[in-house]
Symmetry: C2
Subunit: 146 residues, 2 copies
DNA sequence: CATGTAGTTGCAACCAATTGCAATTATCAT
DNA sequence: ATGATAATTGCAATTGGTTGCAACTACATG
């Protein structure tokens, strides 16, 4: 029926309930594109069901994050952003601290780092969605000229 | 005189002022050990000079962070932590999401990642002090038994 | 040393996110 | 289908952190 049946299963088998509020939040995350703030998700859910509370949104994002179905990332914009984690399209971001440009970084870089850490320490890192700050090529060259 | 003369120089040459409040905050960071919360720094400064405001602490941490003299890190404890960045002792942390154990990770791992990213994209990442969440060896083995 | 000015401070108001709690509800086991 | 139970919700209060602003001060310059 709904296209969230898999997620509903995951919720139930981990002792959580599939409430209507959660399904709406899930829908916003899966059909809205890319990085969403809690306020954006809240707005979308509210349009359909005006009684939701923002705390329900945050708590749901909390459980989805625990289950590693969504990533929570500080992209330096002030508000934390959330993104549905798709195993096929795992990626990260490079963010310039000078011009704020955001680009994507292939997951492979972090996959390799994760494998090394795992091999040498036994610790298995969660590498769902990183924001790496720094200086983009353009800004770095400008800075080096001084 | 004071042991913060280098930092004072950095502040001045970047167009900032070396105010008494800032020097006290600096002192707390350099002489206090390891990860400090804004509240801890505030408390220490307040003991010496009761009129400081917490906003001054946050703003000072902001400029020190911009200058990359301190790192700001979410270690998952609720409050953001700040640590003086010592070039010689650069390090990162692995934090278990199950048992909360915190260990150190040698900087070399991230140095290598940074070099790769830089070589292939021209982006120069700031790799001052990362917190990498995941499952420690013990918790991972326990989880795999189920 | 005096002075002009940009940078900083304390305060109060504000904002994003979290938490305690009593009422409600999804789910499981009969 | 019904009832017991644990999880969840909405609400209100709270916390950690930020911001606008008028008063103040560090410091560069002459
Ligand atoms: Mn992304
Ligand atoms: Mn550290
Ligand atoms: Zn840039
Ligand atoms: Zn552990």
């Amino acid at each position: 029926m709904s296209c969230e049946t898999d997620t509903v299963k995951v919720l139930r088998t981990t002792g959580h309930k599939a409430t209507p509020q959660r399904l709406m939040i899930l829908g916003a995350l899966r059909h809205g594109s890319g990085h969403l703030t809690a306020a954006e998700i809240f707005g979308e859910v509210q349009a359909e069901y005006p009684y939701v509370d923002i705390s329900t949104v945050y708590r749901t994002l909390g459980v989805l994050k625990e289950l590693r179905l969504v990533s929570e990332t500080d992209m330096g914009t002030g508000d934390t952003t959330y993104e549905w984690v798709q195993q096929q399209e795992r990626h990260h971001h490079l963010i310039c601290r000078n011009c704020d440009e955001v680009t994507s970084l292939d997951h492979q870089y972090l996959e390799d780092l994760g494998a090394e850490i795992m091999a040498e320490s036994g610790f298995k890192p969660d590498l769902d969605h990183f924001a790496i700050f720094g200086l983009c090529a353009k800004c770095r060259l400008e800075a080096e000229q001084n």
